[in-house]
Protein backbone atom coordinates (compact mmCIF):
# COMPACT_ATOMS: atom_id res chain seq x y z
CA UNK A 1 0.00 0.00 0.00
CA UNK A 2 1.30 3.42 -0.98
CA UNK A 3 0.68 5.79 1.90
CA UNK A 4 -0.61 9.24 0.94
CA UNK A 5 -1.20 10.73 4.36
CA UNK A 6 0.27 14.02 5.50
CA UNK A 7 -0.27 15.25 9.00
CA UNK A 8 -1.04 18.93 8.57
CA UNK A 9 -2.79 21.20 6.13
CA UNK A 10 0.42 23.18 5.61
CA UNK A 11 2.25 20.03 4.64
CA UNK A 12 -0.64 19.25 2.30
CA UNK A 13 -0.31 22.60 0.55
CA UNK A 14 3.46 22.57 0.26
CA UNK A 15 4.51 23.92 -3.12
CA UNK A 16 1.55 26.23 -3.72
CA UNK A 17 2.88 29.45 -5.22
CA UNK A 18 1.72 32.77 -6.55
CA UNK A 19 0.34 32.59 -10.07
CA UNK A 20 -0.67 28.95 -9.93
CA UNK A 21 -3.84 27.43 -11.34
CA UNK A 22 -5.97 25.67 -8.73
CA UNK A 23 -9.05 23.49 -9.10
CA UNK A 24 -11.43 23.37 -6.15
CA UNK A 25 -14.26 20.90 -5.66
CA UNK A 26 -17.68 21.82 -4.37
CA UNK A 27 -21.06 23.06 -5.54
CA UNK A 28 -22.06 26.26 -3.83
CA UNK A 29 -20.76 25.77 -0.29
CA UNK A 30 -21.47 22.03 -0.42
CA UNK A 31 -18.41 19.79 -0.49
CA UNK A 32 -15.84 22.59 -0.61
CA UNK A 33 -12.28 22.08 0.70
CA UNK A 34 -12.71 24.34 3.75
CA UNK A 35 -9.32 23.61 5.27
CA UNK A 36 -7.36 24.10 2.05
CA UNK A 37 -9.12 27.42 1.43
CA UNK A 38 -8.29 28.60 4.96
CA UNK A 39 -4.67 27.66 4.40
CA UNK A 40 -4.57 29.48 1.04
CA UNK A 41 -5.80 32.58 2.89
CA UNK A 42 -3.12 32.12 5.53
CA UNK A 43 -0.39 31.61 2.91
CA UNK A 44 -1.45 34.86 1.19
CA UNK A 45 -0.58 33.44 -2.23
CA UNK A 46 -1.78 35.76 -4.97
CA UNK A 47 -2.46 35.92 -8.71
CA UNK A 48 -4.27 32.61 -8.52
CA UNK A 49 -6.41 31.20 -11.28
CA UNK A 50 -9.24 29.29 -9.62
CA UNK A 51 -11.32 26.68 -11.40
CA UNK A 52 -14.44 25.99 -9.38
CA UNK A 53 -18.12 25.73 -10.22
CA UNK A 54 -18.96 28.65 -7.93
CA UNK A 55 -17.07 31.39 -6.13
CA UNK A 56 -18.46 30.97 -2.64
CA UNK A 57 -20.22 33.73 -0.73
CA UNK A 58 -18.68 36.91 0.67
CA UNK A 59 -17.78 35.37 4.00
CA UNK A 60 -17.16 31.72 3.16
CA UNK A 61 -15.68 29.42 0.57
CA UNK A 62 -13.76 31.02 -2.28
CA UNK A 63 -15.21 34.35 -1.20
CA UNK A 64 -12.51 34.36 1.50
CA UNK A 65 -9.81 34.39 -1.19
CA UNK A 66 -11.64 37.12 -3.07
CA UNK A 67 -11.77 39.29 0.04
CA UNK A 68 -7.96 39.07 0.19
CA UNK A 69 -7.69 39.81 -3.56
CA UNK A 70 -5.76 36.60 -4.09
CA UNK A 71 -7.61 35.61 -7.26
CA UNK A 72 -6.48 36.93 -10.63
CA UNK A 73 -8.85 34.84 -12.70
CA UNK A 74 -11.93 32.81 -11.94
CA UNK A 75 -13.19 29.98 -14.17
CA UNK A 76 -16.70 28.99 -13.06
CA UNK A 77 -20.20 28.27 -14.29
CA UNK A 78 -22.22 30.31 -11.78
CA UNK A 79 -21.07 33.11 -9.53
CA UNK A 80 -24.30 34.78 -8.49
CA UNK A 81 -23.96 34.70 -4.72
CA UNK A 82 -21.08 37.01 -4.05
CA UNK A 83 -21.04 40.83 -3.86
CA UNK A 84 -17.26 41.19 -3.65
CA UNK A 85 -16.99 38.96 -6.71
CA UNK A 86 -19.35 41.27 -8.60
CA UNK A 87 -17.37 44.33 -7.59
CA UNK A 88 -14.02 42.87 -8.69
CA UNK A 89 -15.47 41.59 -11.93
CA UNK A 90 -17.22 44.82 -12.90
CA UNK A 91 -14.17 46.90 -11.95
CA UNK A 92 -11.96 44.65 -14.06
CA UNK A 93 -9.72 43.74 -11.10
CA UNK A 94 -10.48 40.09 -11.69
CA UNK A 95 -10.81 38.21 -14.95
CA UNK A 96 -13.79 35.89 -15.20
CA UNK A 97 -14.37 33.03 -17.63
CA UNK A 98 -17.84 31.58 -17.41
CA UNK A 99 -18.29 28.12 -18.92
CA UNK A 100 -21.16 25.63 -18.98
CA UNK A 101 -21.34 23.44 -15.90
CA UNK A 102 -21.21 20.15 -17.79
CA UNK A 103 -18.25 21.41 -19.79
CA UNK A 104 -16.49 22.34 -16.57
CA UNK A 105 -17.03 18.85 -15.18
CA UNK A 106 -15.85 17.20 -18.37
CA UNK A 107 -12.80 19.42 -18.85
CA UNK A 108 -11.76 18.22 -15.39
CA UNK A 109 -12.53 14.61 -16.22
CA UNK A 110 -10.62 14.93 -19.53
CA UNK A 111 -7.56 16.13 -17.63
CA UNK A 112 -7.94 13.25 -15.19
CA UNK A 113 -8.35 10.67 -17.94
CA UNK A 114 -5.72 11.93 -20.39
CA UNK A 115 -8.01 13.23 -23.13
CA UNK A 116 -6.73 16.49 -24.58
CA UNK A 117 -10.05 17.52 -26.09
CA UNK A 118 -13.65 16.48 -26.74
CA UNK A 119 -16.68 17.68 -28.66
CA UNK A 120 -19.77 18.79 -26.75
CA UNK A 121 -23.02 20.36 -27.95
CA UNK A 122 -23.10 22.75 -24.97
CA UNK A 123 -22.58 26.39 -25.88
CA UNK A 124 -22.85 26.05 -29.65
CA UNK A 125 -24.12 29.31 -31.14
CA UNK A 126 -23.32 31.26 -27.96
CA UNK A 127 -20.45 33.41 -26.69
CA UNK A 128 -18.95 30.28 -25.19
CA UNK A 129 -18.14 28.92 -28.65
CA UNK A 130 -16.44 32.12 -29.84
CA UNK A 131 -12.94 31.39 -31.09
CA UNK A 132 -13.43 27.67 -30.68
CA UNK A 133 -13.64 25.02 -33.36
CA UNK A 134 -17.20 23.93 -34.08
CA UNK A 135 -18.09 20.79 -35.98
CA UNK A 136 -21.10 18.79 -37.04
CA UNK A 137 -21.58 15.21 -35.89
CA UNK A 138 -24.78 13.31 -36.66
CA UNK A 139 -26.47 16.46 -37.91
CA UNK A 140 -25.81 18.43 -34.77
CA UNK A 141 -23.23 21.14 -34.09
CA UNK A 142 -20.62 20.69 -31.38
CA UNK A 143 -17.86 22.76 -29.81
CA UNK A 144 -14.32 21.48 -29.24
CA UNK A 145 -13.36 21.90 -25.60
CA UNK A 146 -9.96 21.26 -24.01
CA UNK A 147 -8.84 19.52 -20.85
CA UNK A 148 -7.93 21.76 -17.92
CA UNK A 149 -4.29 22.15 -16.98
CA UNK A 150 -3.96 22.92 -13.28
CA UNK A 151 -1.18 22.79 -10.69
CA UNK A 152 -3.21 21.73 -7.67
CA UNK A 153 -6.63 20.21 -7.14
CA UNK A 154 -8.19 20.72 -3.71
CA UNK A 155 -10.75 18.10 -2.88
CA UNK A 156 -13.09 17.51 0.03
CA UNK A 157 -14.25 13.94 0.72
CA UNK A 158 -16.25 12.39 3.53
CA UNK A 159 -14.05 9.40 4.32
CA UNK A 160 -10.67 8.46 3.03
CA UNK A 161 -8.03 5.87 3.81
CA UNK A 162 -4.25 6.03 4.01
CA UNK A 163 -3.98 4.80 0.43
CA UNK A 164 -5.95 7.85 -0.72
CA UNK A 165 -9.15 5.97 -1.50
CA UNK A 166 -12.15 8.27 -1.14
CA UNK A 167 -15.85 8.13 -0.35
CA UNK A 168 -18.12 11.15 -0.66
CA UNK A 169 -21.44 11.88 1.01
CA UNK A 170 -24.63 12.98 -0.72
CA UNK A 171 -24.36 15.89 -3.11
CA UNK A 172 -21.09 16.96 -1.49
CA UNK A 173 -19.64 14.63 -4.14
CA UNK A 174 -20.30 16.93 -7.15
CA UNK A 175 -17.08 17.98 -8.95
CA UNK A 176 -14.74 16.49 -6.36
CA UNK A 177 -14.28 13.04 -7.98
CA UNK A 178 -13.83 14.56 -11.44
CA UNK A 179 -11.07 16.87 -10.24
CA UNK A 180 -9.05 14.14 -8.51
CA UNK A 181 -5.99 13.48 -10.62
CA UNK A 182 -6.92 16.36 -12.94
CA UNK A 183 -4.08 18.55 -11.64
CA UNK A 184 -0.39 17.87 -11.12
CA UNK A 185 -0.96 17.43 -7.39
CA UNK A 186 -4.27 16.40 -5.84
CA UNK A 187 -4.73 17.28 -2.17
CA UNK A 188 -7.66 15.76 -0.34
CA UNK A 189 -9.12 16.69 3.01
CA UNK A 190 -11.52 14.27 4.67
CA UNK A 191 -13.80 14.34 7.66
CA UNK A 192 -12.60 10.91 8.68
CA UNK A 193 -9.28 9.32 7.79
CA UNK A 194 -9.25 5.56 8.27
CA UNK A 195 -6.59 2.90 7.92
CA UNK A 196 -6.09 1.08 4.63
CA UNK A 197 -8.30 -1.95 4.52
CA UNK A 198 -11.21 -0.42 6.43
CA UNK A 199 -13.07 0.67 3.30
CA UNK A 200 -14.81 -1.88 1.07
CA UNK A 201 -12.76 -2.01 -2.19
CA UNK A 202 -16.06 -2.33 -4.01
CA UNK A 203 -17.39 0.94 -2.64
CA UNK A 204 -14.55 3.37 -3.31
CA UNK A 205 -15.67 6.46 -5.24
CA UNK A 206 -12.13 7.53 -6.15
CA UNK A 207 -9.16 5.12 -6.07
CA UNK A 208 -6.06 6.41 -4.31
CA UNK A 209 -4.00 6.48 -7.50
CA UNK A 210 -5.64 9.83 -8.32
CA UNK A 211 -4.57 11.34 -4.98
CA UNK A 212 -1.13 12.59 -3.90
CA UNK A 213 -1.82 13.86 -0.36
CA UNK A 214 -4.60 13.24 2.12
CA UNK A 215 -5.28 14.62 5.60
CA UNK A 216 -8.08 14.74 8.13
CA UNK A 217 -9.71 18.10 8.85
CA UNK A 218 -11.42 18.93 12.12
CA UNK A 219 -14.62 20.82 12.89
CA UNK A 220 -16.06 21.31 9.44
CA UNK A 221 -18.43 24.24 9.33
CA UNK A 222 -20.38 22.99 6.26
CA UNK A 223 -22.40 26.17 5.99
CA UNK A 224 -25.84 25.91 4.37
CA UNK A 225 -26.51 28.47 1.65
CA UNK A 226 -30.29 28.11 1.33
CA UNK A 227 -31.87 26.50 4.35
CA UNK A 228 -35.23 25.28 3.05
CA UNK A 229 -37.42 23.21 5.37
CA UNK A 230 -40.97 22.00 5.87
CA UNK A 231 -42.75 22.38 9.14
CA UNK A 232 -43.60 19.09 10.83
CA UNK A 233 -47.19 20.08 11.53
Amino acid sequence: MINKTVSTVSEALEGVQNGMTLMLGGFGLCGIPEKAIAELVRLQVTDLTCISNNAGVDTFGLGLLLQQKQVKKMIASYVGENAEFERQMLSGEMEVELIPQGTLAERARAAQAGFPAFYTPAGYGTEVAEGKEVREFNGKMHVLEQAFDADFAFIKAWKGDEAGNLIFKGTARNFNPNMCGAAKITVVEVEELVSAGSLDPNQIHVPGIFVQRIFEGKDYEKRIEQRTVRSKT
Binding site: C30, V96, Q101, G102, T120, W158, F175, T228
Partner: protein, 218 residues
Protein backbone atom coordinates in the same frame (compact mmCIF):
# COMPACT_ATOMS: atom_id res chain seq x y z
CA UNK B 1 -57.33 36.25 -16.03
CA UNK B 2 -53.64 35.57 -16.37
CA UNK B 3 -52.23 32.68 -14.36
CA UNK B 4 -50.02 33.22 -11.35
CA UNK B 5 -46.72 31.35 -11.01
CA UNK B 6 -48.41 28.39 -9.40
CA UNK B 7 -50.91 28.28 -12.24
CA UNK B 8 -48.09 28.17 -14.79
CA UNK B 9 -46.45 25.37 -12.81
CA UNK B 10 -49.73 23.50 -12.62
CA UNK B 11 -50.23 23.72 -16.38
CA UNK B 12 -46.65 22.60 -17.03
CA UNK B 13 -47.20 19.60 -14.77
CA UNK B 14 -49.70 18.32 -17.34
CA UNK B 15 -46.76 17.82 -19.69
CA UNK B 16 -45.19 15.22 -17.40
CA UNK B 17 -45.55 11.63 -18.56
CA UNK B 18 -45.22 8.39 -16.67
CA UNK B 19 -41.57 7.32 -16.47
CA UNK B 20 -40.13 10.77 -17.14
CA UNK B 21 -36.86 11.91 -15.61
CA UNK B 22 -37.18 15.65 -15.24
CA UNK B 23 -34.75 18.47 -14.57
CA UNK B 24 -36.37 21.54 -13.04
CA UNK B 25 -34.71 24.94 -13.22
CA UNK B 26 -34.82 27.57 -10.52
CA UNK B 27 -37.97 29.72 -10.08
CA UNK B 28 -41.33 28.72 -11.57
CA UNK B 29 -40.01 25.30 -12.73
CA UNK B 30 -39.29 24.32 -9.12
CA UNK B 31 -42.99 24.71 -8.34
CA UNK B 32 -43.91 22.05 -10.92
CA UNK B 33 -42.94 19.35 -8.40
CA UNK B 34 -46.01 20.34 -6.35
CA UNK B 35 -48.43 19.37 -9.13
CA UNK B 36 -47.34 15.92 -10.33
CA UNK B 37 -50.40 13.93 -11.43
CA UNK B 38 -51.10 11.19 -8.86
CA UNK B 39 -51.22 8.33 -11.38
CA UNK B 40 -47.74 8.73 -12.88
CA UNK B 41 -44.21 8.09 -11.67
CA UNK B 42 -41.58 10.72 -12.41
CA UNK B 43 -38.16 11.32 -10.91
CA UNK B 44 -36.47 14.65 -10.49
CA UNK B 45 -32.81 15.09 -11.34
CA UNK B 46 -30.74 17.94 -10.04
CA UNK B 47 -27.54 18.61 -11.93
CA UNK B 48 -25.43 18.98 -8.80
CA UNK B 49 -25.66 15.20 -8.46
CA UNK B 50 -28.91 13.70 -7.25
CA UNK B 51 -31.68 11.68 -8.85
CA UNK B 52 -34.92 11.02 -6.99
CA UNK B 53 -35.26 14.32 -5.16
CA UNK B 54 -38.01 14.58 -2.58
CA UNK B 55 -39.54 17.53 -0.72
CA UNK B 56 -37.67 19.91 1.57
CA UNK B 57 -36.59 18.30 4.85
CA UNK B 58 -38.49 18.75 8.07
CA UNK B 59 -37.16 21.49 10.28
CA UNK B 60 -34.04 20.30 12.08
CA UNK B 61 -33.46 17.46 9.62
CA UNK B 62 -31.68 19.49 6.97
CA UNK B 63 -28.26 18.20 5.91
CA UNK B 64 -25.62 20.55 4.48
CA UNK B 65 -24.42 17.67 2.29
CA UNK B 66 -27.77 17.14 0.60
CA UNK B 67 -28.83 20.06 -1.57
CA UNK B 68 -30.27 20.74 -5.03
CA UNK B 69 -28.82 22.88 -7.81
CA UNK B 70 -30.53 25.92 -6.27
CA UNK B 71 -28.38 25.23 -3.15
CA UNK B 72 -31.55 24.45 -1.18
CA UNK B 73 -31.57 21.67 1.40
CA UNK B 74 -33.62 18.74 0.12
CA UNK B 75 -34.49 15.13 0.85
CA UNK B 76 -34.40 12.06 -1.34
CA UNK B 77 -37.03 9.42 -2.09
CA UNK B 78 -36.78 5.64 -2.32
CA UNK B 79 -34.64 4.64 -5.29
CA UNK B 80 -32.59 7.84 -5.18
CA UNK B 81 -28.90 8.02 -6.04
CA UNK B 82 -26.02 10.45 -5.70
CA UNK B 83 -23.31 10.86 -8.33
CA UNK B 84 -20.54 13.17 -9.51
CA UNK B 85 -20.97 16.14 -11.85
CA UNK B 86 -19.57 14.40 -14.92
CA UNK B 87 -22.10 11.59 -14.48
CA UNK B 88 -24.84 14.12 -13.88
CA UNK B 89 -24.16 15.82 -17.19
CA UNK B 90 -23.81 12.43 -18.87
CA UNK B 91 -27.48 12.00 -17.94
CA UNK B 92 -28.30 15.37 -19.45
CA UNK B 93 -26.07 15.39 -22.52
CA UNK B 94 -26.77 11.72 -23.20
CA UNK B 95 -30.51 12.46 -23.36
CA UNK B 96 -31.39 10.24 -20.43
CA UNK B 97 -33.22 13.15 -18.81
CA UNK B 98 -36.55 13.24 -20.66
CA UNK B 99 -37.72 16.76 -19.95
CA UNK B 100 -36.07 20.02 -18.97
CA UNK B 101 -38.16 22.87 -17.63
CA UNK B 102 -36.40 26.18 -17.25
CA UNK B 103 -36.96 29.89 -17.11
CA UNK B 104 -35.87 32.44 -19.72
CA UNK B 105 -35.35 36.14 -20.25
CA UNK B 106 -36.13 35.83 -23.97
CA UNK B 107 -37.22 33.13 -26.42
CA UNK B 108 -37.13 33.57 -30.18
CA UNK B 109 -39.62 32.14 -32.63
CA UNK B 110 -36.92 29.78 -33.92
CA UNK B 111 -36.47 28.29 -30.47
CA UNK B 112 -33.39 30.24 -29.39
CA UNK B 113 -33.23 30.97 -25.69
CA UNK B 114 -31.45 33.67 -23.68
CA UNK B 115 -31.42 33.31 -19.93
CA UNK B 116 -27.96 33.85 -18.52
CA UNK B 117 -26.55 37.28 -19.21
CA UNK B 118 -27.57 40.91 -19.50
CA UNK B 119 -24.63 42.88 -20.92
CA UNK B 120 -23.49 45.67 -18.63
CA UNK B 121 -25.24 44.14 -15.64
CA UNK B 122 -23.97 41.58 -13.19
CA UNK B 123 -23.57 38.24 -14.91
CA UNK B 124 -24.35 35.29 -12.71
CA UNK B 125 -23.34 32.64 -15.20
CA UNK B 126 -25.04 29.94 -17.19
CA UNK B 127 -24.67 27.18 -14.61
CA UNK B 128 -25.94 24.02 -16.26
CA UNK B 129 -28.36 25.79 -18.59
CA UNK B 130 -26.22 25.63 -21.73
CA UNK B 131 -25.68 21.90 -21.32
CA UNK B 132 -29.37 21.37 -20.63
CA UNK B 133 -30.68 23.31 -23.62
CA UNK B 134 -28.07 21.96 -26.03
CA UNK B 135 -28.87 18.38 -25.09
CA UNK B 136 -32.49 17.91 -24.11
CA UNK B 137 -34.91 16.66 -26.74
CA UNK B 138 -37.75 18.16 -24.84
CA UNK B 139 -37.41 21.64 -23.39
CA UNK B 140 -40.24 23.65 -21.93
CA UNK B 141 -39.68 27.27 -21.05
CA UNK B 142 -41.64 28.54 -18.08
CA UNK B 143 -41.73 32.33 -17.92
CA UNK B 144 -43.85 35.46 -17.83
CA UNK B 145 -44.97 36.57 -21.27
CA UNK B 146 -43.57 40.07 -20.83
CA UNK B 147 -40.98 41.66 -18.56
CA UNK B 148 -41.81 44.08 -15.77
CA UNK B 149 -41.95 46.99 -18.20
CA UNK B 150 -44.48 45.12 -20.31
CA UNK B 151 -42.01 44.34 -23.13
CA UNK B 152 -42.58 40.99 -24.81
CA UNK B 153 -40.11 38.19 -24.06
CA UNK B 154 -41.29 36.22 -27.13
CA UNK B 155 -39.33 37.71 -29.99
CA UNK B 156 -38.48 37.27 -33.64
CA UNK B 157 -34.86 37.17 -32.56
CA UNK B 158 -33.30 37.30 -29.13
CA UNK B 159 -31.53 40.55 -28.25
CA UNK B 160 -29.62 39.13 -25.28
CA UNK B 161 -26.63 36.75 -25.49
CA UNK B 162 -27.94 33.28 -26.27
CA UNK B 163 -27.93 30.26 -24.01
CA UNK B 164 -28.82 27.90 -26.86
CA UNK B 165 -29.88 27.85 -30.46
CA UNK B 166 -33.11 26.37 -31.86
CA UNK B 167 -33.69 24.21 -28.83
CA UNK B 168 -36.94 25.33 -27.18
CA UNK B 169 -40.00 23.25 -28.13
CA UNK B 170 -42.74 24.72 -25.95
CA UNK B 171 -43.32 27.89 -23.92
CA UNK B 172 -45.83 28.17 -21.11
CA UNK B 173 -46.54 31.62 -19.73
CA UNK B 174 -49.18 33.25 -17.56
CA UNK B 175 -51.15 33.89 -20.76
CA UNK B 176 -50.64 30.96 -23.08
CA UNK B 177 -49.19 27.64 -24.18
CA UNK B 178 -47.18 27.96 -27.37
CA UNK B 179 -45.09 25.65 -29.52
CA UNK B 180 -42.26 26.63 -31.82
CA UNK B 181 -43.44 26.09 -35.41
CA UNK B 182 -41.53 26.31 -38.69
CA UNK B 183 -42.42 30.00 -39.16
CA UNK B 184 -43.03 31.29 -35.68
CA UNK B 185 -44.79 30.64 -32.39
CA UNK B 186 -47.98 28.60 -32.54
CA UNK B 187 -50.65 29.47 -29.99
CA UNK B 188 -52.13 26.22 -28.65
CA UNK B 189 -53.91 27.22 -25.45
CA UNK B 190 -55.01 30.39 -23.75
CA UNK B 191 -55.17 30.95 -20.00
CA UNK B 192 -58.74 31.07 -18.68
CA UNK B 193 -60.18 34.53 -19.29
CA UNK B 194 -57.30 35.68 -21.51
CA UNK B 195 -58.21 36.68 -25.07
CA UNK B 196 -56.25 35.73 -28.15
CA UNK B 197 -55.87 39.44 -28.91
CA UNK B 198 -54.23 40.01 -25.57
CA UNK B 199 -51.71 37.26 -26.36
CA UNK B 200 -51.04 38.62 -29.84
CA UNK B 201 -50.33 42.04 -28.32
CA UNK B 202 -47.95 40.58 -25.77
CA UNK B 203 -46.01 38.59 -28.40
CA UNK B 204 -43.41 40.45 -30.44
CA UNK B 205 -42.51 37.45 -32.62
CA UNK B 206 -44.73 35.99 -35.33
CA UNK B 207 -47.64 34.17 -33.72
CA UNK B 208 -49.82 31.68 -35.55
CA UNK B 209 -53.11 30.65 -34.03
CA UNK B 210 -53.58 26.86 -34.04
CA UNK B 211 -56.87 25.72 -35.58
CA UNK B 212 -57.75 23.88 -32.41
CA UNK B 213 -56.69 26.66 -30.03
CA UNK B 214 -58.53 26.27 -26.75
CA UNK B 215 -58.62 27.35 -23.14
CA UNK B 216 -56.28 25.54 -20.76
CA UNK B 217 -58.04 23.03 -18.58
CA UNK B 218 -56.95 22.20 -15.05
Amino acid sequence: MALDKNGIAQRIAQELKDGYYVNLGIGIPTLVANYIPKDIAVEFQSENGVLGMGPFPFEGEEDADIINAGKQTITTLKGASFFDSATSFAMIRGKHVDLTILGAMEVSQTGDIANWKIPGKMVKGMGGAMDLVASAENIIVAMMHTNRSGVSKLLKKCSLPLTGVGCVKKIITELAVMDIGPTGFILRETAPGVSIDEIIKATAGDLHIAEDVHVMSF
